[in-house]
Amino acid sequence: MAIAREAEPVGSLQEVKEAGLDREDLLGVYRNMLITRGIEERGHILYKQGKIPGSFYTGRGNEAAAVGVATAMDDQDVGTPLHRDMGVHISRGVEPWRIFAQYMGRADGPTHGRDGNVHMADSRLGLLAMVSHLPAMLPVAVGCALAFRIREEKRVAVGWFGEGASARGDCHEAMNLAGVRKLPVVFVCDNNQWAYSTPTYLEYATEHVADRAEAYGFEGVVVDGTDVLAVYRESRRAIEKARGGDGPTLIECLTLRMEGHAVHDDAFYVPKDMFERWASSDPIERFRTWLREHAELGDAEEDEITSGVKKLLNEALTRAEESPLPDPSSLAEGVFATPEDLDTPHHK
């Protein structure tokens, strides 16, 4: 039996305005979703061209969830997005060419070729780079929230995790500490229904992951992760609640991982009709339709956005390809931080 609240979809433009987004914002959200998908589609091409070393992961199907949550964050908030959350980096303002450079292991990627894939973040934009081990960034997000609480700052940390990784102890310890201390943190579960090849019923026994929130003393919400406005509204609510001192929320964004786990995986184990059903709820198409119906998005304006994104990404690709490969002689630099490294916005 479900315990978590199941969020309603968002209806009218009026409702969206009340949630804090004007028309300009909505078009920005749409644009960010297009950029997100565009980057990952181009990533596939780069991979096929042999330009991406190692493996390659995307978040196809998760664009609304990622962009929706990130749009609800304030500038001073921080987050620990994962491998399905490119939309968070885009919404926070990471330049796409840097992401392509990261994919290709170039010197100008956020990790300068030291780490690959979405294992990156620009800390100046309030994002912390994920590690492979899942969901190891949840305790770190809770630590950020602890810092805000100690300093009595009105800031919020957002920690992402997959439904599969919710089985690990890090998830429990992070949520329990956050619940006990009522820390200003929002937990976002990207529930794409698969953990590599493992279905949800082999990962957890409750109906929803968000049902667990009750056990930690805070609210759990399940939201349709293909509905960017519903995700935004629930995230905004949770973030403002945390900011106001009322503790954490667990938001579970329900989606389907629309590709294999990574580029090498054809997802043969996902039933075909499951893909078909979820394809009819594509987050970008869905939002586009909504914008046309409720926000007077017309052909001309849509073309302008689409071609703007295309231009941005083409230029980004060119710039990234011009970025040099990292210099092997730099390998041993920066294993240890120096006092000058503390000269960051967070340490001022």
Partner: protein, 324 residues
Amino acid sequence: MAEKTYLQAISDGLRQEMRRDKRVFVIGEDVGVYGGAFKVTLGFQEEFGPWRVIDAPLSETAIVGGCTGAAIMGLRPVAEMQFSDFISCGWDQLVTVAAKQRWRAGTPVPMTVRLPSGGGFSGGPFHSQNPESSFAHIPGLKIVCPATPEDAKGLLVTAIEDPNPVLYFEHKHLYRRIKAEVPDDRYTTPFGQARIHREGDDVSVITWGAMVWTAAEAAQQLEDDGISVEIVDLRTLVPWDKKAVLESVSKTSKVLVLHEDTHTGGFGGEIAATIAEEVFEDLDAPVKRLTAPDTPVPFSPPLEKAFIPQVDDVASALRELAEY
């Protein structure tokens, strides 16, 4: 200056830093009202309040991971493991997240983890270990192992100031046993500078932590037989003072590498290898290692005595070297 135990020196150093720097906070199990399992933070919560002396749930992952996040946000966390053995439960946060974050993502993690370590009082397999070498193997972590009250304070201050994750191993068997003069004012003891605990000419002992004192007693015994022993206290393992070690070895030409940790993969192996690589020509005897055997730490006193290198073990190892 006042005479302080090793434990008081840690406590004073920490309190002084918390008074001086509002960014410093303490988190751990039972560190608040109770003052910590060993009472290092006794009275801290009254002085600094519940949000700077934080009683955590039994959650090493959340403690270490939480400190990582708080450190990245600009605070200076000092985590207490109730016993160093429990760091295994926070391993991933330390090794996977904190240690690599600067190199990989450019975000420094200035945090200190205090680890009450070592045996000698029947703590058994889970309350007596010396896990420093496991972490010395991880690029990005600094490792501190003070032996004296003065160093306990100075190295803790340096650890808190350092912009990296620092593991501060405080040996439980030194807590109340070792007393010495400790300066009242704030001071820092630099990392990577060994201390000559005792000067000598015939044999060098390279060691750290509680074994410094075991070696000192053995050296005293040998002095009566006319054998002069030099004791090099490394103070920190990462970084470690290669120069001081090699100089001492070149001077005496014979060396015993001594540690309480188990043998295989212990940090002594690294020291022995470095000596062999760099000053082989100066040696008049093979490098000798004396360590705990490759077993878990036993509980019952005669077993534990057989496990931890004792004064007599050190003395006979030194004699063998001297006679070589």
